[in-house]
Structure formats: structure tokens, C-alpha cells
């Protein structure tokens, strides 16, 4: 009898333990919450790592903001890749939506009522472009910094060798490419194996030519009054195809990784590099005086700046302590040390009110200070297509389809056909 009951008890205990484990595994650990030693809430904070936003950066920045927001304890949740939006949605689907989310695309969550807007008076008081990230008039991520996507970086010594000046018009740009090629210099570097990098010339052309003339174009696309197959859009996209057909990109550009493209351009293997302003953080110090920058050229030479206002964190409406989360987010967003790391490492342009660049104690390249003038000067700033986080953000997976269209233009001369695919993808993404 003893053996039987012992075996029975062992088996029952195993099943019981497994059942408890299952229940525990299926329960919502994030939302079950917890309390810090001080009695305040423990909040989950979704972050992600990049070469400049390192684990050490997050650890230090969280610790500083925790000190300024007493009673809040942060539990960091690190996204497995830089695609934090997909990860945030996976967490939401499994009932673990974080309380705070760093650098997400808020437009993807606002319709579902998942994000709490910031107090507008606090936004107005602290930021240069208070409505830079606004969605239907409300701000869900503080507009702490900005990027220009793309700029065209150039190698001054290679330009001199080919007798080329930085171009301001599209015609001059084509001439510069032709002269560089004739001089035996690869005109443009492109890490097209990474889809977002392949799309830089298309982003530049559409932002400058289409949005430059009609800044409301994306809103009109949402309303269905304009399309990618419209003549002006096809003409702009055709410019990228022209650059491909004339052989101005590095040979095998779609076989070059983003990381290799930076290495190649820094090593002087190509004269120009269309890339987001975050490349500023990757210019080696010994090249600081050799790398120049100009905006993506327009037909008439007017300066159009494809602009994206970046920001810090969004707050979940379901956060265990929305007030505490807001305090932490505000402290993090205004911390000059965080901006210093972003300026130096990520080429971010600071957007805090009443602060000059020198106030951050940063050391930046001449290319940074030159390009920063495009942010501070009066010019035509438009949403960088595919990069904006405000009302102009693209729906669903359209960014991926946009990148795919850019890659397709390397192998297909059917520009209108590719734009037609984008219109179809738009329909799928907005269903």
C-alpha cells in the first residue's frame, strides 16, 4: 500500500506542480505588477539596443531618471531587435504591454487607446517643436530630438579630385555623379542589403519632390485623394531608377550590408552616401574635416529638409501608476545627459527649449554643426516619408513595402508598377 500511495502522491504532485506552472506561465506577469521597497510601483519599460544606445546607456539613464521620480522602480524589458513596435504588439497580444515604451510609432497604438497623452502645457514649456510628434493634436512621445532622413554625406577630397562641387539642384547632382564616375570614383555608397538603407534615395526623392511641393500629401493619401501612381510620385521615384540605370551606386549595392556601407564610405571607397543623420555619430574623428554634407537636391535648388522628430517614451494608459510613469518619462526626457549620448552617438539634433548645443557639453564634427543649421534655419521642412511618428506615419507594414519597392527599382524599370504595388499594399495595411 505504501508504494502505491507514494507513487500516487508523487504523480499527483507532479501534475499539480505542472498545473500551477501552467497557470503561472499563462498569467499576466507584467500587469500583475509589484511594488518597490519604497511602496511605489514597479513599471516595465521597453527599450532596445543599438551600437550607440548600449545596455550601459540604458542602465545609467534609467538610474538617473529613477532618482528624479521617487517611488518609481523600473523593470527594463529589452526588445530582441530594433523593431520595438512588433515586439510591443507581441507583448500586448500576450497581455504584457509595457508601462513605458521607448521610441515606438505611437500612431499604431493611439486608435486602440493604448497610450496616454502628455500634458500639453509641459510639452509647450520644454520643447522647440511642441507639435512635432503630435497625432490628432495630442503628444504621445515628447519631441526631444530630431533627425534628417536622408542627408547626402560626401568625401571632400574625392570631390576635389573629380573637380566637383556640392550640388544644390538635381541636374547638378547628376552632373556630379557623372564626373565622379568618369574620374574612376564610385559616386554613391549604399548598404542596400538592409532594406531601410536601400530606400534612402527613394525617401529623399519622394520627400523632396512630392512632399516638398505638397506637405499634405500623406494626409491626402490617407483620404484617398492622391496615389503613388500619380505622375508626380512616379516621376520622383523614377529619379532613383535613373541613378541605378546610370550606374551611380556602388556595384552590387543590394549585396552590401548597412554596416559594410559605413565602413566603405569611411574608407573613401565612394564619394557620396545618402543616409539618415544618425550617420554623423559614425564619422571617424580623423575624417571629421573630410566629410561634408548637403540636403537631398531638388529640381530648382530650394532646400527641402526631410525631417523626423524623434522622442523619448510613450506611457501606457494601462500603466500601474500613470502619474509615476509620467514623472519618470518627464525626468528621462529632459535629462541633458541622455541628449548628450544621443547627439554624440546617434547624430540626434536636440529639440529642448532654451538650450544651445554647447549646453550639452558635446564634441561634434563640423558635419554635425553644418547639418544642424538645416534644423534651426527657416526652410521647407517636410515629413521624411516612412520615418515620421506623427500624423504622417505610414500605416502598418507600408514601410517594409516601401523598402521593397526601392530594392525592386534596382532590378526593374517598371517604376509605375512598383508604385502601384504600394497603393495595393496601402489598401491591405489600412483594412
Amino acid at each position: 500500500m505504501f508504494r502505491r500511495s507514494a507513487a500516487f502522491r508523487r504523480g499527483a504532485a507532479t501534475v499539480g506542480a505542472a498545473g500551477l506552472l501552467l497557470i503561472a506561465a499563462c498569467s499576466n506577469s507584467a500587469s500583475s505588477g509589484g511594488s518597490s521597497a519604497g511602496g511605489g510601483a514597479t513599471l516595465t519599460y521597453l527599450t532596445f539596443n543599438t551600437p550607440s544606445l548600449t545596455p550601459a546607456f540604458w542602465k545609467d539613464s534609467i538610474a538617473r531618471a529613477e532618482q528624479k521620480a521617487p517611488g518609481v522602480t523600473i523593470k527594463q524589458v529589452v526588445a530582441p531587435s530594433t523593431d520595438r513596435d512588433s515586439y510591443a504588439k507581441q507583448l500586448q497580444a500576450s497581455g504584457q504591454f509595457p508601462d513605458l515604451l521607448q521610441s515606438i510609432t505611437p500612431s499604431q497604438y493611439t486608435e486602440a487607446g493604448l497610450l496616454a497623452p502628455y500634458d500639453q502645457s509641459w510639452i509647450d514649456a520644454n520643447f522647440l517643436l511642441p507639435q512635432g510628434n503630435a497625432i490628432k493634436g495630442k503628444v504621445y512621445i515628447p519631441p526631444t530630438n530630431s533627425q534628417i532622413i536622408p542627408l547626402v554625406f560626401y568625401n571632400k577630397s574625392l570631390f576635389t579630385r573629380a573637380g566637383v562641387q556640392p550640388p544644390t539642384t538635381w541636374a547638378q547632382f547628376l552632373q556630379a555623379n557623372a564626373k565622379l564616375k568618369a574620374a574612376g570614383i564610385t559616386p554613391m555608397e549604399l548598404g542596400g542589403n538592409d532594406p531601410f538603407a536601400a530606400a534612402m534615395p527613394l525617401t529623399g526623392a519622394l520627400s523632396a519632390d512630392v512632399l516638398g511641393k505638397n506637405p499634405k500629401w500623406l494626409q491626402q493619401r490617407y483620404a484617398g485623394t492622391v496615389k503613388f501612381t500619380d505622375a508626380d510620385v512616379v516621376a520622383a521615384a523614377g529619379k532613383m531608377r535613373t541613378l541605378v540605370e546610370k550606374g551611380y551606386f556602388e556595384q552590387g549595392a543590394l549585396n552590401v550590408s548597412y554596416a559594410d556601407s559605413i565602413k566603405n564610405f569611411n574608407a573613401g571607397k565612394a564619394a557620396m552616401y545618402p543616409m539618415g543623420s544618425w550617420y554623423l555619430g559614425s564619422i571617424p574623428k580623423d575624417q571629421w574635416n573630410n566629410i561634408g554634407v548637403f540636403p537631398w537636391p531638388t529640381d530648382d535648388g530650394s532646400v527641402v529638409v526631410p525631417f523626423a522628430v524623434g522622442g523619448s517614451m510613450a506611457i501606457s494608459t494601462k500603466a500601474k501608476d500613470v502619474k509615476g510613469a509620467t514623472g519618470f518619462a518627464q525626468a528621462w526626457s529632459l535629462d541633458p545627459d541622455n541628449l548628450k549620448a544621443l547627439i554624440e552617438g546617434d547624430g540626434a539634433y536636440p529639440m529642448l527649449k532654451n538650450k544651445a548645443l554647447k549646453d550639452y557639453g558635446v564634441t561634434v564634427s563640423p558635419a554635425f554643426t553644418d547639418s544642424y543649421t538645416y534644423v534651426t534655419d527657416t526652410n521647407t521642412k517636410v515629413s521624411s516619408i516612412g520615418w515620421s511618428t506623427n500624423d504622417d506615419a505610414l500605416p502598418g507594414s507600408l514601410n517594409n513595402d516601401f523598402y521593397a519597392a526601392a530594392q525592386a527599382l534596382f532590378n526593374s524599370s517598371d517604376v509605375k508598377g512598383q508604385m502601384s504595388k504600394l497603393d495595393k499594399a496601402w489598401s491591405t495595411a489600412t483594412k
Binding site: T14, G19, G192, G252, G396, A404, N411
Partner: protein, 299 residues
């Protein structure tokens, strides 16, 4: 007749086994059966991961699938990849198994090496092969140093070449598994069969055709079926290697499902594609198994 205490012991052991089996069944139900039924239910709705609640839309998602050109492209690519990789991985696996079917220590070490691709995570495989296949990667560097090519080959940059490259990498991964399956089968072939064949005057080629191929037929059935299923649901290697590019040329159906679910927020539609992929995999697996089983009997 068994003593009474033995009956109690047998019964208690039996009860323990039953409980363990019940636990296994419970885990299978919770983690396999229930999610499949949840997904099936979701496929008839407009479920969105960001919203609570959903509407029943009948066969709306399935009807949309018929007109989805991106889905069609990804399914065609996935099917071609599955067919090509299965053939190559099984041929390579059988060849490796024949080479490694020795008892010396060095061969045992080589067997471990042959199995390594299967052990390494798909993400790591993707990263490693990406560094090999990019413009200034190892392969182009070697080819250029040997003067076999003058300009680097766009292994991941041209649509058809990228599809071929993905196929080679996935076949490389799977060949570790197929090698082990065929090795196990080869080691179960009695030596007497070869001895009898030799006495009858059969040469090496005849012995391979008449003995080896016939005796490994059950292993072929398993290896081919598992290879097909593995490739039909492939995600990680391709995601890291090409991100589905260039221009969606290497986008697998599994990648498309993830894109629909977590980028377009269309859980319902993604579930309908997942159901389709499940059904497709089941039909292919059952058909192939049935054909190969019949072949086993014929052999």
C-alpha cells in the same frame, strides 16, 4: 502466480506512467491543440492584437487570400524552396552518411562536425552566412583571389541569386539532420547482406542500388517528410539573411504571417494564412509519406 505485493507494485508503476502520460497529454493540449483551435477561430474574425474583442467575418479572410499577390509570391517561393532544399539536403545527407559510416575515431569526430549545422541556432546561421555572402564577404574574397570572378557576385542582391543562396544555406543546415538519419539507417543494415551480394557477384554500384537504397528507404521517408515540413515553416534563417529581400523575393510564408500579424495588426488574416500553411504542410507531408511508404513496399 504473482505474489500480491507484485500486483500492487505493477499497479503503482502503471499509475505513475499514466500520470506522466496525462501530463504529456495536458502539455500537448495546452500548447499545441488549444492554440491551433484558437487560431482557427481567429481566422474567421477581424482580430487585432491592439484591440479587445473581434467581429466574426466568416470566410472573409480566406476569400482575401485568393487575391493576395504578395501571399501567392511567398507561397510559390516557399514551395520551391522546400522542394529544392529537400532534394539537395537528402542527397548530401546520404552522401555524407556513406562517407562517415566508419568506426574510426576520426569519423566519429567528423560525424559531430556534420551534425553541427543542425545544432546552431537559425539566427546565428543567418548572421554567419550573411558575412560570407555579402559583397566583401568571405566567398567573394576567395573567388576573387582565385581569379574565378573579376567583380563580386551579388549573392544576396539579385532576386534569383538571393533565392538560390537562401536555398543553399537552408540545405546546409538540414544536411546535418539528414546525415544523422541516414547514418543511423546505414548502421542497421546487416553486413551479411553485403557479404551475400559479394558472393553473388554484385559490384559496389549494384550493392548500393539493390541493398543500401532499399534498406534506407524507411529513413528516406522520415528524412524527406521532416525536411519538407521544416522548410515550409522556415522563418529565422531567412529573416536574418535577407529580411525577405531583395524586393520580397525571398519572403517565406511564415515571414508573411508575422508581417500581417505584428506589423499590419491583422491577427485574423494572419491566422487564416497560418491555417492554410498548416493544411498545406499536412497535405504535402501525408502525400509524400504515402508515396514513399508505397515505394518502401515496392523496393
Amino acid at each position: 502466480m504473482k505474489p500480491l505485493s507484485h500486483w500492487f507494485r505493477d499497479t503503482s508503476q502503471d499509475l505513475g506512467l499514466r500520470l506522466i502520460a496525462a501530463l504529456g497529454l495536458l502539455l500537448y493540449l495546452v500548447f499545441i491543440v488549444v492554440p491551433v483551435f484558437m487560431s482557427l477561430r481567429s481566422s474567421f474574425t477581424d482580430e487585432n492584437p491592439l484591440k479587445s474583442g473581434s467581429n466574426w467575418i466568416g470566410f472573409g479572410n480566406y476569400s482575401e487570400m485568393l487575391h493576395d499577390s504578395q501571399l501567392r509570391t511567398s507561397v510559390v517561393f516557399t514551395l520551391l524552396l522546400a522542394a529544392g532544399v529537400t532534394v539537395v539536403a537528402n542527397l548530401v545527407g546520404l552522401a555524407f552518411a556513406l562517407l562517415l559510416d566508419r568506426t574510426a575515431l576520426s569519423y566519429r569526430v567528423l560525424r559531430t562536425v556534420a551534425f553541427l549545422p543542425q545544432v546552431v541556432s537559425g539566427v546565428i546561421v543567418g548572421f554567419v552566412w550573411k558575412t560570407i555572402l555579402t559583397q566583401d564577404g568571405l566567398l567573394n574574397t576567395v573567388l576573387r583571389s582565385l581569379h574565378l570572378v573579376h567583380t563580386p557576385v551579388d549573392w544576396l542582391g539579385k532576386p534569383h541569386l538571393a533565392q538560390f543562396s537562401v536555398g543553399v544555406v537552408v540545405a546546409w543546415v538540414l544536411s546535418g539532420f539528414t546525415t544523422v538519419v541516414y547514418l543511423a539507417a546505414l548502421q542497421n543494415i546487416p553486413q551479411e547482406l553485403y557479404d551475400a551480394g559479394s558472393i553473388d557477384g554484385a559490384g559496389a554500384a549494384q550493392q548500393f542500388r539493390m541493398i543500401t537504397l532499399r534498406m534506407v528507404a524507411p529513413a528516406t521517408t522520415i528524412s524527406v517528410t521532416i525536411s519538407l515540413i521544416t522548410v515550409l515553416k522556415l522563418y529565422d534563417v531567412i529573416q536574418v539573411l535577407t529580411s525577405g529581400g531583395p524586393a520580397n523575393a525571398t519572403q517565406s510564408t511564415a515571414q508573411y504571417i508575422v508581417k500581417m500579424a505584428f506589423t499590419n495588426d491583422r491577427f485574423g488574416y494572419a491566422s487564416s494564412i497560418a491555417m492554410f500553411l498548416l493544411a498545406l504542410s499536412a497535405v504535402i507531408a501525408l502525400s509524400v509519406t504515402s508515396i514513399l511508404r508505397r515505394r518502401e513496399v515496392d523496393l
